[in-house]
Amino acid sequence: MSDTQGNERPPIIDVRNIVKHFGPVIALSGVSLSVRGGEVHCLLGDNGAGKSTLIKTLAGVHRPTSGQYLVDGDPVSFSSPRAALDAGIATVYQDLAMIPLMSITRNFFMGREPLVGIAPFRRIDFQSAHEVTREEMRRIGIDVRDPHQAVGTLSGGERQCVAIARAVYFGAKVLILDEPTSALGVAQTSMVLKYIHLVRQNGLGVIFITHNVRHAYAAGDRFTVLNRGKTLGTYAKAEIPMDDLQNLMAGGKELQQLSGELGGTI
């Protein structure tokens, strides 16, 4: 259990011994995690490991039962997802990010519409909104002929990228990506992973939740494995080969054996 060497930046998010109980259920029993700017920190774990509870705690949906949550070194306690967002912690949920029937522009600026005009005639500044949307989409590499087109016409990977671009545009310091690749095909996954890489190069911290070790290994700098509400360890990429990571996540040798039988396809 060690940190990466050579990265001098202080962590943006630093949680220590986070515990979360739901009544009698202990969802998290002492999880620690930190993410720096310019780093992709992968959070791995099988179903029920506590990944969702952890990110919802980070995102301000839940309050931790105990433990410390530091942002830029200061302890915080978010009352709502909006408060976390205002502190620069943006969460992109797998399928709860975009509204398919609304246009790309309307989605991009949802909740933060740019306004022009005076009080009774105040309206959305669609000219600048369309321009920004078109420009941001071009940067991701999505061919948006027309920002009026409905988000439903975009592919799953493109939607994820639009959601990430939106969070970045509105000043996120840390992105929490909840299984952004789990429902995507190969080409679309690589599109999203490429974009995550780009976000990192621009100095943002990324927490990337997945249960796919390959995706994690392709994008991540550090890996934290969760199991039954506990951290099994945090490893830098140089410290752990992919197979070991897979075994750690699966929690035993059985899977390794099975994986061997299946020709390494898991």
Partner: protein
């Protein structure tokens, strides 16, 4: 709004973007039109007008015929536009028909029994409707029950309260009369009853531009104020939906309430506001009808909630929310008026109206679903 440095891929140097994308031309006019929710309603209106051109007495297509059609269409339309906004926001309000009767009772009681001046009675009635709408909205939000059930309950509660209240106020009758006697003529009254632009229509008649009686008066003395309210409301609602932040929030709340909440849209406030709007629209219709008739009746507004929802659906609103338009509901209400009144100009039995209504609703729903798949690329 804080914006950080944009993300640029290192390999791709950014170049200025022209404000008009040259690739836009690829979108054909048809695709552009398909994206508008009111397309189906406009096509439907064209169809019914063609039908009546062939079957109806030509007096239907005169100015007085048009007013005869638009007067009932306008009252339904005010309700339909409000119902459309609420449907786009993802909820239903089945209580608006009963709300018309209830608001009519409250309004008439303020005037006849409390002897309030007209302006105060109008403001108080609308405020009262807002309270009922807010109760509807809060019940839906707090209990998380479907709005269908909550407002169905209020359909009966309000209708029952109207009957009980009217009998109490009148000593056993289900009608409250005497509004005419207590309302003073004046600016406020002319805003809510009678006809507008009388001078203009007299002038048209003097210039022989419109039909007139033998004594030189125009056959149509003016535009009923309810039509002006209807058109004004349609314009304002369309502007709000398409151009303002509230409009974006209405689409977002109905499209996916969770995604909207995650993006910081105050979904609960938007929905409560929309319930207040539908109740206020019902109260406005109540005020218009009570002033016109000079009385209120417990049977006012029966089935109007369904007609309003049908007009909104014909206008392109999806039952699942998140899609639709106020202009569509406007056109839907006009279709309603054209057919219900138009049949009396034909040799058909006017009871065919209900058959037509059901068929139109079915076709509209199928068409809307098809359009939605087109828009979202669902298969």
């Amino acid at each position: 709004m804080s914006q950080t440095q944009p993300i640029a891929p290192p390999s791709q140097p950014t170049k200025p973007i022209p404000t008009v994308d040259e690739r836009l031309r690829k979108t054909s006019l048809l695709t552009e039109a398909m994206r508008r929710p009111e397309l189906g309603a406009l096509a439907g209106l064209a169809l019914v007008i063609i039908f009546f051109l062939f079957t109806a007495n030509s007096s239907m297509f005169t100015l007085s015929g048009a007013m005869t059609i638009l007067a009932p269409a306008s009252q339904l339309g005010i309700l339909a536009i409000a119902a459309a906004l609420l449907m786009i926001g993802g909820e239903f309000d089945l209580s608006i028909g009963s709300m018309i009767a209830f608001a009519g009772l409250v309004f008439a009681a303020f005037l006849v029994d409390a002897h309030w001046p007209l302006s105060l009675a109008i403001v108080a009635t609308l405020a009262f409707a807002c309270v009922v709408g807010a109760i509807n909205g809060q019940l839906v939000i707090q209990t998380r029950l479907p709005s269908f059930i909550v407002t169905l309950a209020f359909l009966f509660i309000l209708r029952g309260l109207t009957l009980v209240g009217l009998k109490f106020a009148t000593g056993g009758s289900t009608q409250l009369r005497g509004v005419d006697e207590v309302v003073q003529d004046g600016l406020v009254k002319s805003l809510f009853s009678g006809v507008a632009f009388q001078g203009f229509f007299s002038w048209l008649a003097s210039q022989n531009l419109v039909e007139k009686f033998d004594n030189g008066l125009p056959k149509v003395s003016g535009v009923p104020v309810s039509i002006i309210w209807f058109i004004g409301f349609a314009i304002v609602a369309t502007w709000i939906l398409l151009r303002t932040r509230i409009g974006n929030w209405i689409y977002a709340a109905g499209g996916d309430a969770n995604a909207a909440r995650n993006s910081g849209v105050p979904v609960n406030r938007v929905k409560t506001g929309l319930f207040m709007l539908t109740a206020s629209a019902a109260a406005l219709v109540a005020i218009l009808t009570v002033l016109d008739a000079g009385s209120t009746d417990a049977r006012r507004g029966v089935q109007k909630e369904f007609e309003a929802i049908i007009a909104a659906v014909i206008g392109g609103c999806l039952l699942t929310g998140g899609y639709g338009s106020a202009i569509g509901a406007f056109v839907g209400a006009i279709i309603f008026g054209v057919v219900s009144i138009g049949l009396t100009y034909t040799t058909f039995d006017s009871d065919w109206f209900q058959v037509f209504l059901g068929a139109m609703l079915l076709i509209a729903v199928l068409f809307n679903n098809y359009i939605r798949r087109k828009v979202t690329g669902e298969r």
